[in-house]
Subunit: 515 residues, 2 copies
């Protein structure tokens, strides 16, 4: 049985044209991103949506949480050009060549599989080869990510150990020529992107940076009310030129994982390719060790997918463009000025630091509720003459539940309710995560051929104790149809025998269907 | 004589490698934008600089003033895709064709000169015709501005008069394939850009929008301490498809004007091309009237150029990344913890809403002063044991002048000094503007040929009473080597005879050398 979370209605009860999230997530998701005014997909390029005000505001609030974290951790914001001349890729290609040589000197060739295939992004970038009526001498491409652009400048900025660590970031749009099916926020061709790039004196200091990045991820995900899986990607899924990659995956309601962030430890591989050195205390030139940390608008995709229900979005209060909507009851010939009272209440809440909207449209209350439910405003306050007389306001939580709130101490009262709504969202999504993660069935060899002793259930994520070879991993992926997310950052408490190699291990690997 | 403003040193006394601003502005400007760490021009594409943290922070502070103004005036932020399919230009081309027809029906052909030449930006855009290894069916270009992209969506968003006015804006990067010499912030190929687009029920409401835009410009320029010229551009310099264009020009120290913003009233010309209609109260379809308002990183270029001196930048307090830098005096074996006191003071000022940096590097005070002067931090506070004992801090204004400030009420004291520094910058730049604007010499006809009775002085801007024809204007531009900025928004108080036509007029036109 698939456990349903975040559903205020039973299955099948699609409301006012909204597809049922539980029965048909693949229709619900694209419907809701447009119906809630996050984006408009009718722009005439597939995979390039128009961000509408509500969607852009939400994304900018997510960005501002990231800005805050960057400031706290002494990262500085830069902004690099969009275009990268093709000849800068020479250095990146040299990096790949170096890694090839390393293989010839005895490293497992599997480790280089992706590097060779990637060919420096050439197959998935948009090219600018013409300007005005001219053909350019050197073709340029739209950045798919900024290693090449940034590391061209790093040698000019880093001279001595005093310049380290260098910690910079930018929020820019990146471009990928996606050939797979596009989905708003999840798989798009113009990506709203965050990338932090750091340079350090040694491997250890770079490792500390990765640890800091993972702490930032935790704090951000707490605010987005999203549980995540952090997994050290298998070698074949490691970013080209990286020593290792940690992928951060959110879980969608259909059990598919969505990589929302990643951290890469480059050691000195890129530094060697781009000649990024510093003079150490002994006046010797040393290569820097580098890391990157990336996130994207997929964070919003995960929020939409995980928290929404059949009535629309549910916005975590930390990123809700409107945390509170006030709906004054509008009655003709009433002596009580509910609209005035609503405006006054809004002012009080705004002074208390809350983001508030007053909806004083003269339409049916039901229509108002529908509009704000689909947009996922976490807290609605209804204000009628009787509420005013009683010194209360009627609070409806988007996560369910209604109650009168005393007007006395209303800022604090609203803060508390919003905090409870955040907790409720965290509970629901954690329960979903717990429910979704299962033990992988065992494998047995039958006449030399591997077989799986059980079935893979749609919508589940699997974990297993694993200490086998890459060949074993390939067998598992083939038999299960799942993808190795990699090694969970938290191991098993006790040793368990690996199904494939028979070796006892605490190593916990995670497998899933991925976006 | 050219009056020198913003100079704390006499001409010729270039300091530590900084070129003299007054003697050689064309060397001073590119030197200072890099020396102050605003940008790095060594990125391997000409006209595409890397924004360094200090420059980007400044630009983002300018942006945030704009965001505030947009919020106050009920504009909503959107974000459109960068790429525009070539076939969307068909409508823009149709607009040009329509204007051609208008000419055939009797409108002065000069009015259409630019429209024909522009050819929908085709000659100045970057083209994307390839992606991965494929050639695209429909070529796309990087937006030079977003009319075409946005007005493709407007008909989907505007149904009835209730949807109007539609007021949206975005801050994005735009691209122009510049063939002229590039200059940081002033003439670049990737432009940090602001654009507001509005749609209205009629011409009158659109005109009110232009008036609002000009008020926003005034408030922003006050904060940037920049005097400006607002001029209704002559017809031949009007944006294609616009009814009229108002250019907002700042004046650089060399007397050249720099267009930092512009507003366009489109009437219903674009609406007719893109079929942007609404249903009015009588259930009739009507064309919208539209406006745009654009600004760019040129605002920062004007700030750099106008306020700086031979010691570096001078940042207007409203956009200074650090409004105050505190330099504790560091003496070995001193019993007084000046660094601790500086940190404490910084905390007090930050809590008061000021942006503060503490420079506790153990280097010569002179080096510190130099570093913060070149970056243009408006207020430096030196803190030594004697200051601490006296309950004061020693304040050095970047605009000149030193004084002890009482620690009691230090937030208010700093605010007052910063406010005086802003006033001083406004004074200096207004004086420069007043000094630079001259009356244009008269013109006389000699044997049927026009001659100028006087000389054009380099570094000056000219005004004249003008009520002549476009042919007269052409004669003036040819004889003076100046460009018509257009009609000043403020006319002459009394009627003056136009030199060319002899007609009395209050119309005041401005002419200048432009960037």
């Amino acid at each position: 049985m698939i456990t349903v979370v975040n559903m205020s209605q039973g299955p099948g009860k699609a409301k006012r044209g909204i597809p049922s999230k539980i029965e048909n997530f693949n229709e619900w998701y694209p419907f809701i991103v447009e119906a809630s005014d996050l984006v408009d997909k009718r722009y005439p390029i597939k995979g390039m949506d128009v961000w509408r005000p509500y969607g852009w505001k939400t994304m900018r609030l997510i960005d501002s949480l990231t800005h805050d974290e960057m400031e706290k951790t002494n990262h500085e914001e830069v902004n690099f050009p969009l275009l990268i001349p093709e000849n800068l890729l020479d250095k990146e290609n040299a990096l790949v060549a170096r890694l090839k040589r390393a293989r010839e000197e005895g490293i497992d060739p599997d480790e280089l599989r992706d590097e060779e295939e990637e060919g420096g992004f050439k197959k998935e970038v948009y090219w600018v080869k013409h300007a005005g009526e001219n053909e350019l001498d050197i073709p340029m491409f739209l950045r798919p990510t900024s290693e090449t652009a940034m590391y061209t400048m790093f040698p000019l900025w880093i001279r001595s150990h005093k310049d380290l660590p260098l910690k910079i970031y930018q929020m820019v749009n990146t471009f990928r020529y996606e050939t797979k099916q596009t989905r708003s926020f999840i798989r798009v061709r113009e990506i709203h992107f965050f990338e932090a790039h750091t340079a350090h004196i040694d491997e250890e200091d770079a490792s500390r940076q990765i640890a800091e990045d993972l702490e930032i991820v935790d704090r951000l995900m707490h605010k987005l009310c999203l549980p995540i899986i952090k997994a050290k990607r298998p070698v074949w899924d490691t970013f080209p030129g990286a020593w290792y990659t940690i992928g951060i995956d959110a879980v969608m309601p259909n059990g598919r994982t969505l990589q929302v962030a990643s951290c890469h430890h480059y050691r000195d591989q890129w530094a060697k390719a781009f000649d990024i050195t510093y003079e150490n205390l002994e006046a010797k030139q040393q290569y820097c060790h580098q890391t990157t940390y990336g996130m994207s608008e997929r964070l919003l995709g995960a929020v939409v997918g995980m928290h929404g229900d059949d009535n629309g979005l549910i916005m975590p209060p930390a990123i809700a463009p409107f945390q509170v909507v006030i709906c004054p009851m509008i009655k003709k010939n009433s002596e009580v000025d509910t609209v005035g009272a609503a405006e006054e209440l809004a002012e009080t809440l705004r002074n208390g630091g809350l983001r508030v909207k007053v909806d004083s449209r003269d339409i049916r209350a039901g229509q108002k509720y529908y509009d704000w439910e689909i947009k996922g405003v976490p807290l609605r306050l209804d204000l009628g003459p009787r509420d005013i007389a009683q010194g209360t306001v009627f609070a409806a939580r988007r996560t369910g539940g209604k109650e009168p709130l005393p007007m006395e101490g209303i800022v604090e009262n609203c803060r508390n309710v919003l905090s409870e709504i955040s907790d409720e969202l965290r509970n629901r999504s954690s329960m979903h995560m717990q429910d979704v993660i299962q033990q992988l069935p065992e494998f047995v060899q039958n006449e030399g051929k591997w077989e799986m002793k059980g079935e893979i259930v749609d919508g589940k994520i699997y974990q297993m104790a694993f200490d086998g070879s890459d060949a074993h991993a390939e067998v598992i992926e083939r038999l299960t149809g799942l993808t190795f997310l990699g090694d969970a950052t938290e191991e098993f408490d006790t040793e368990i025998n690996c199904h494939m190699s028979g070796k006892p291990t605490k190593r916990k690997v995670i497998l899933a269907k991925t976006y």
